[in-house]
């Protein structure tokens, strides 16, 4: 069996996803980073962006993560975010509307959030 790493994706108020994975790709402030089992201990700052988790049974989990941290040690990876949503939980129509509204109001933060949500849905 291929090596696995344990992933915990937690938002401030709930545990979003946890399970075994073979690869996690996330966007840090200095670029995309891929973490595979046995990676060196790492602590990074995340950008708003989609996080892709390749689960050990071959599936893929995509989540929209807005800010936060990635930390990896002892084959345990934690993704901490104030807000995190799985792609399945995102309503594309609502995100689309939010994007329109954010553009109209020139709210850069809201626009980025909506765009990240849409990207996460598209990548699913």
């Amino acid at each position: 069996m291929a090596a696995e790493l344990h992933v915990e994706l937690v938002a401030a108020d709930r545990n979003v996803w946890s399970g075994e994975a073979s690869l996690v790709v996330a966007r840090t402030t200095s670029g995309d980073i891929g973490v595979m089992p046995g990676h060196q201990p790492l602590l990074g700052v995340l950008e708003s962006g989609p996080v892709t988790i390749r689960t050990s049974d071959g599936g893929t989990v995509v989540a929209a993560v807005h800010g936060g941290f990635i930390s990896f040690a002892d084959n345990k990876l934690s993704l901490l975010a104030e807000i995190a949503e799985l792609a399945d939980e995102i309503d594309p129509a609502r995100a689309e509307r939010a994007l329109e509204r954010a553009k109209a109001e020139a709210d850069a933060a809201a626009e980025r959030r909506a765009a990240v949500r849409l990207r996460a849905v598209a990548g699913h």
């Binding site: 401030a12 545990n15 840090t28 790492l42 602590l43 990074g44 040690a73 934690s78 901490l80």
Partner: protein
């Protein structure tokens, strides 16, 4: 019905109505405690992971960050006091306020100026009545605080600690809230959030004293710490707000339970008094009838002669 008896009946009715209300409040509070406890539990993974990460950076790197190093002679401190918006919760708010007063005295004794930040209408009212200065106050969400509320509360505190002391900033950040131990026990506690004391952070981590690995920081230890500490403060405040909400509901449940019990006792003793009054009334009526009958009998016996 005699006047005495009527008064008792009316009082029994009033107390019964009050008892119904307090009983309802007790049950509402009881159901909310469970919900609040569940939210505390749901926020735990984030808080634990964040504390772990903060401990890792602070111990694993040689970075000297202003937020983790203690100032030589701290002169100003900020205190965040968490109280409730509504009353009828026994000593919940006043206990928290008392703890804040003690902390304030201790800090003043150490020669520090104290800036007070308040959450909850009860604390605001207490300080307003005494015309004390409050740096900032928030109300309206103590029942069920959200993470956005915690962020809102944390923002000015983080700004204050990042400002130089000479320009109105603070050196230390304290928080006073009511810790939820169990359904029956809630303790007002005061904690120092910043500067971080590492032993404490590790203790919260579970006291395992595990040796943390040498982390690779992305992009750099300073940047990670810069981003991490505000989140840490927010998460601590969020946790405090949630625990305070759970404690508030527990305190209200207890207060309302004893109010219901007292109303029950009152009803019991009032019913006894009402019964006695009714009995006295009947006795009086009987003696009146007997007296009247014997007076009548005496009168007819007299006229016979």
């Amino acid at each position: 019905m005699g006047a005495q008896l009527r008064v008792y009946k009316r009082r029994i009715q009033a107390v019964t109505a009050t008892k119904k209300i307090t009983k309802a409040m007790e049950m509402i509070a009881a159901s909310r405690i469970v919900k609040a406890q569940r939210r505390v539990a749901a926020s735990m993974p984030y808080a634990t992971e964040l504390t772990r990460a903060v401990t890792a950076v602070a111990t694993g790197s040689t970075t000297q960050h202003p937020l983790t190093t203690e100032v030589e002679a701290p002169t100003r401190a900020a205190v965040l006091l968490v109280t409730s918006d509504r009353g009828l919760a026994g000593g919940y708010s006043s206990n928290a306020i008392k703890a804040a007063e003690r902390l304030r005295e201790r800090l003043s004794g150490e020669g520090k100026e104290v800036d007070t930040y308040i959450v909850g209408r009860k604390g605001v009212a207490y300080y307003g009545f005494r015309e004390r200065k409050v740096a900032e106050a928030w109300t309206g969400f103590t029942d069920s605080p959200t993470y956005a509320d915690a962020k809102m509360v944390a923002a000015p505190l983080i700004e204050a600690i990042q400002t130089e002391t000479a320009e109105g900033g603070v050196d230390e950040l304290h928080i006073v809230f009511t810790e939820f131990v169990s359904m029956m026990t809630q303790n007002p506690v005061d904690n120092r959030m910043l500067p971080l004391s590492l032993d404490k952070a590790q203790e919260e981590d579970g006291g395992k004293g595990e040796i943390l690995p040498l982390f690779d920081f992305e992009p750099s230890a300073e940047d990670v710490l810069d981003a991490l500490l505000p989140r840490y403060v927010e998460s601590r405040i969020y946790n405090a707000l949630l625990q305070a909400a759970a404690s508030e509901h527990a305190a209200r449940r207890r207060a309302m339970k004893s109010a219901t019990d007292n109303a029950g006792d009152l009803i019991k003793s009032l019913s006894r008094l009402a019964n006695a009054a009714r009995q006295a009334e009947i006795t009086q009526e009987i003696s009146e009838i007997v007296g009247g009958a014997s007076a009548l009998a005496d009168a007819t016996a007299g006229s016979d002669k």
